[in-house]
Symmetry: C2
Subunit: 156 residues, 2 copies
């Protein structure tokens, strides 16, 4: 991890994070082995990537083939978590708060990409639209809201 | 938490989650005090809710007012995490894998809603589009991809 701060970037003092724990449900395979190679945002016409879902979660994929697009959450495990103001262009001019960016550097470094589901091979999903490093831990898979309707009757 | 299983719902055996830790960055205030009152999905014309960002993250909001819509991540702290196949309608008929649902019951119970930013009051964001309980822990705030452009030059 490149932990060097850029001029004018600011940190916060945060306690050791210990509010809740995540459990990785698989791994993501992408063509990008180093951070400098990753695109700044995923594209739906980008290269095919693999979501390798771990065996205990195999049944949780039941019915996922109904969806053309999925929201993917993943853990950006090389990010620093204390940056509050960032200078993405490293130009000493334009500064942005962390929550006004989609930078990996954030208090809870969770990446979120909307991907297209191309096909499945067993418990592996082939998708397009990711931007993360090869080997990134997978956290969650959800149908996108615009294709999803609640499966229980509306509440009164 | 209602931990009762419905007929035919299936669990997985998962290890104690310990792969990564989250740090709550604030609290969400909504009109819904009990799970039965929460809507099944948020609506952009739903009631105004408050994202109360904790003081250490105040500067991280710099520039967020540029965005009309935000992706909000939050921790569904009453969910059970071992369900792999669910029967959302409790009708004993239609079963779905957890990753083919947007149910709160999932291995990493992270809620994701796309909200409209109405206005800000100090470090509190007033938004519409949430569906979660009053008091839900806040995890992350991101500009939505369709309004966001990377703030650094493209990579070669």
């Amino acid at each position: 991890m490149d932990t060097r701060l850029r001029a004018g970037e600011r940190l916060t003092e945060v306690p050791v994070p210990q509010d809740a724990m995540l459990h990785f449900i698989g791994r993501i395979r992408t063509p990008w082995a180093e951070r400098k190679d990753c695109p700044r945002q995923g594209r739906l016409d980008g290269p095919e990537c693999r979501l390798e879902v771990a065996a205990p979660w195999q049944e949780a994929l039941l019915g996922i083939g109904e969806y053309a697009h999925l929201d993917i959450l993943y853990w950006l495990d090389r990010a620093r978590r204390d940056l509050v103001v960032q200078n993405p262009g490293n130009d000493g001019r334009r500064y942005f708060g962390t929550f006004a960016l989609r930078s990996p550097q954030r208090p809870n470094p969770i990446g979120l990409s909307r991907v297209r589901l191309e096909r499945m091979e067993g418990t592996t999903l082939l998708v397009r639209g990711l931007d993360c490093l090869d080997g990134t831990p997978l956290i969650d898979i959800k149908p996108v809201t615009c294709e999803f309707t609640p499966k229980a009757p509306p509440k009164s």
